[in-house]
Amino acid sequence: MLSPVILIPAVLNGLMAGAVYALVALGLTLIYGVLHIINFAHGALLTAAMFAAFFAFTLLGVDPYLAAFLLGPLFFAIGYALQRFIIGPAAHGEDRNFLLVTLGLAIVIENALLYFFRADTRTINLPYAFDVIEIGPAFVAMPRIIAFGAVIAVAAALWTIMRWTDTGKAIRAVAKEKLGAELCGINVAHIYAITFGLGTACVAVAACLLIPTYYVNPTAGEAFVLIAFTIVVLGGMGSIAGALIGGLCVGVVESFSSIFLGESLGQIGIFIMFIVVLLARPSGLFGARP
């Protein structure tokens, strides 16, 4: 059972799956890090983006990987508008209200999708979805490799934005000291909305990477968000590097637990890890000590 023929492909599969989890978690952790709210609508937005990618392919014939370049900006705009015109005004700056508003938004989005597209599980068939690349003893599927590369690219881009651009500096300033940032002339409402937009764009890219090998139905996003919460806690709330490394860890843990515990119980490993992390290191791997 522990021969390299199994171990190497299992680790690779885990890393590749984990990369996509990490991207979903990146969006979540970014929003948490700046707005200090847990975005309950994250899963519903992921589902909506998956439907968008699905219909871009089936109706317009747009390859999902190309669609990422369209849906990324589109969902950035949607996220920006949601925060600026709905979540922000409705929450009146109260953390508790943020939770309720995003939860309500999730329910509205999911049920709208259910109403329009019904409970059907849909998939797409790409001609190259079953192409493989040989890495040692493993045959790794093409979509996974593309997804892995794309996630690394998005994470690097995000890191660059945060580190080097004025907007990034403003986001970090707001995250650290909201009042101080406001006194320096930073438009906090605008920065909040930009951050929410960036988080939503991450989800849209993740959806485009998922759709070639996954299915979409009105509750498809939920599974990922539960995992993403685990990753955010594991990596440390608000940490980009933490989300990336946490995501990869979770992918590998899931891969191994589905091999040793069975496909139906594959996710048990993740949640055991979640509990262990909460007990042993509540601030996460990269989180600031309280």
Binding site: P9, F130, F139, S255, I259, E263, S264
Partner: protein
Amino acid sequence: MSRWQLQLSRRKFLRSTALGATAVAGLLHAPAILRAQGAAVKIGVLHPVSGALSYSGQQGRLGATMAIDDVNASGGIKALGGAKFDPMLGDAQSTPDGGNAEVEKMNAAGVCAVVGGYASAICLSASQTAARYDLPYVVDVGVVDSIVTRGLKNTFRFGPGFGVIAKTALDNLVTINDQAGKPAKTVMIVHEDSAFGAGLAKLLNAQLPDRGFQVLETISHPTPTREFDNVVLKIKAQNPDLVIPANYYNEYVLLARTMQQQRVRPKGIYSVLGGAASSYKFVKEFPEAAQYIMDCNHWFDPKNPKALDLKKRVEDKGQFFTYEVYMNYSSILLLADAIERAASTDRAKITQALASSTFSGHVMPYGPTKFVDGQNQGAAPVNTQVLGKDIQVILPVQFASAKPVFPMPPA
């Protein structure tokens, strides 16, 4: 007025009122009969047309509605004055709860029988709900044996159950393996984890060792599953002679394609009720992944002209002639025959007529129906194999159109 006169008049009165009552009852009754003539016969047609099983559900609905159209076109139910079928189409949404809700609605709408269910888990709960209303329920596919062993008087299964299928599958596997010089000794089972897959895996695990096969591992997975990489890795590590998948269409296709992708090629893929293994859709869309796969499954009678005509009509519609289609087509005809003999839409009478059914106008290789405790005794599966771009029957010999190719030739 004397007492005598009074008595007489009372007797007269009683006599005349009794006559009158009979006459009035007769008069009232006559229009009732007139109304029944030509009035539609409401039946429920239940399938999981949305959700994870939607493809199978839609195929099932196609078969059922084609049969309903055929019955209506050929003059309806003659014993009811040519009454036409009025189907109430229900969507079980691929869940037992969804099936229950639809049966409740159908009962409220006054259907006289329900046909369908497709998945075992849906059939189990939907037929139980129907039983509460003494509503006759004809199971189209659901194979779990407990569907007919719960003592429900309303539930009839036209097709074969697990017990028969597993026995036939194992007998035929031994025959095929013996003919090839016993190349296969070890087996891995991959099954979905609901009533159908888990039940079948349990049966196979109990019986395979007695037939000289060693079960290396049994892997379960949920429906839907969109990734079989780890399952195939495990198969690769154990390197069994045979892989036995028992799952629904999407997962079956994905498993076969992942095996092809990861270049895992056992001596044979032998499925028992494989969701896609004897599906023309699978063979047409992924001929390489489907090649040489053997299956023990529901199959139409290839020597029955009615079956071949139906196949042509389905294919002319641009649809695939899958087992859901002909199982449902036959189930509706079976119900039509029962209502014909019951000459009534009364639920109890239809149940009685189903129980005593000897219907042979269907398209399956079962012979005339004979129900014992709700199970059609003649129902049996056949063995098929994907050879080239077609699906051939390889066993039983009287229906066979090709000889089995086993073990699979190397790629």
